[in-house]
């Protein structure tokens, strides 16, 4: 679909979650994903080519 900035999350049913972790661990997991997402917003990208 030519979307350029994609970050892989925790899955369909909980993109920013990981219920099998403890609440503290899950919160860490979520923080790391958010940091990745914010990082990609600061990254130069060109139109995604179909690989």
């Amino acid at each position: 679909m030519n979307v350029s900035r994609i970050v892989s999350g925790g899955g369909i049913t909980h993109p920013f979650g990981s219920p099998e972790l403890s609440p503290t661990e899950e919160r860490e997991f979520r923080k790391r994903l958010v940091e990745n997402a914010l990082k990609s917003l600061r990254t130069e990208v060109s139109v995604a080519r179909r690989s």
Partner: protein, 344 residues
């Protein structure tokens, strides 16, 4: 039947007469005579409407209105335009005349041109364009096919696929019954591929429009970030009645404050997956807890105080585009600079 042709086929003259303004003559002219022959006693070419290709191209607004007026005056049941073969301006004129006549008079309209004619790309979605060779050598055969097609349209016969009807695909997909089960066809296709024999795939994604990605954010510390999701998170009770599938709406809701339990205020109405995990803790969909924290610690500029929510389950592409545009416009008004789009 009325026949639309240009100055050349109308026997007025060549390029030097391409600025001829629209006029009408009784009966068939030029290729119209062949049209009448092919039509036999099934109908009559009552009039021919002629316009110079340059006139149409330069004054298209007035030209089309004048032509419609002339066509209407004869009260036809069918309109045939061209065929234009590979003549570009003529092809575009034929396409537009067909399109507008069909729209305003509600009668079947058919034209013909070859694949390279720019009129094909511009009009094949809205007009039936019969495929012709590149030159007028194909006149008789093209007119014959055009008239048969037009009569089928007139008689409201079901129109078969492009390969049968000889027209350019209009770009929609319709279901048909195949001769063989899909299981047989897929094994046939694999065996053809393995033996190096030709095969034709039945479905493909066209190359979509390439959208230039936005430039990266310079500085995250000053940036206003917003959350947008298709995960269907809505206030409990779904006040805006966002549909859980085939959605046509979106909502704009306040983010939850630190210390609040969003599970008490929000629910996930998406019908495409088991929403219990998100219902337990909506931060698993929208990481507002983490982002509010980061905002406090000045690791980001600001988390925008509203999130946008729609539901992507089986959403039609057309709706998705519209909703995306509307959300984007709203975000711009909100002064948002970066968006985390959460998909499920």
């Amino acid at each position: 039947m009325v026949h639309y042709i240009n100055q050349f086929f109308g026997q007025i003259g060549g390029e030097e007469k391409a600025d001829t303004s629209p006029f009408i003559k009784k009966g068939p002219i030029g290729p119209g005579v062949i049209l009448q022959e092919k039509l036999r006693d099934r109908g009559e070419v009552v009039a021919t409407v002629i316009c110079g290709d340059d006139y149409f191209s330069n004054y298209s607004g007035e030209a089309i209105e004048e032509l419609l007026h002339l066509i209407k005056s004869e009260n036809p049941e069918i309109l045939i335009s061209g065929p234009a073969f590979n003549a570009g301006r003529y092809g575009i004129a034929c396409g537009e005349v067909c399109r507008r006549t069909s729209k305003e008079l509600g009668i079947p309209c058919v034209t013909g041109m070859c694949g390279e004619n720019p009129g094909v790309e511009m009009y094949r979605k809205s007009v039936y364009i019969i495929e012709t060779p590149g030159s007028a050598i194909g006149m008789k055969n093209s007119l014959s096919r055009m008239i048969e097609f037009a009569i089928n349209l007139f008689e409201r016969k079901p129109i078969g696929p492009p390969e049968e009807g000889g027209y350019f695909p209009r770009g929609i997909r319709k279901n048909i019954f195949s001769e063989k089960l899909a299981s047989e066809r897929v094994v046939d296709m694999l065996m053809a591929k393995l033996s190096g024999s030709p095969f034709v795939t039945e479905v493909f994604n066209p190359i979509g429009t390439e959208i230039e990605p936005a430039s990266p954010l310079e500085e995250i510390l000053n940036a206003k970030i917003a959350l947008v999701t298709e995960g269907g998170l809505v206030p409990k009770g779904n006040p805006d009645r966002i549909e859980g599938a085939r959605c046509t709406r979106f909502g704009r809701y306040p983010i939850w404050a630190k210390g609040n339990l969003p599970a008490e205020e929000f629910e996930c109405i998406h019908r495409g997956f088991d929403s219990s995990s998100i219902n337990e803790d909506p931060n698993r969909l929208l990481p507002i807890d983490v982002l509010t924290d980061m905002e406090e610690k000045t690791q980001i500029g600001k988390l925008f105080s509203f999130f946008y929510s729609t539901c992507g389950c089986g959403m039609y592409i057309g709706e998705a585009r519209r909703i995306g545009r509307e959300i984007a416009e709203s975000l711009k008004r909100d002064g948002v600079q970066g968006v985390i789009l959460v998909a499920t």
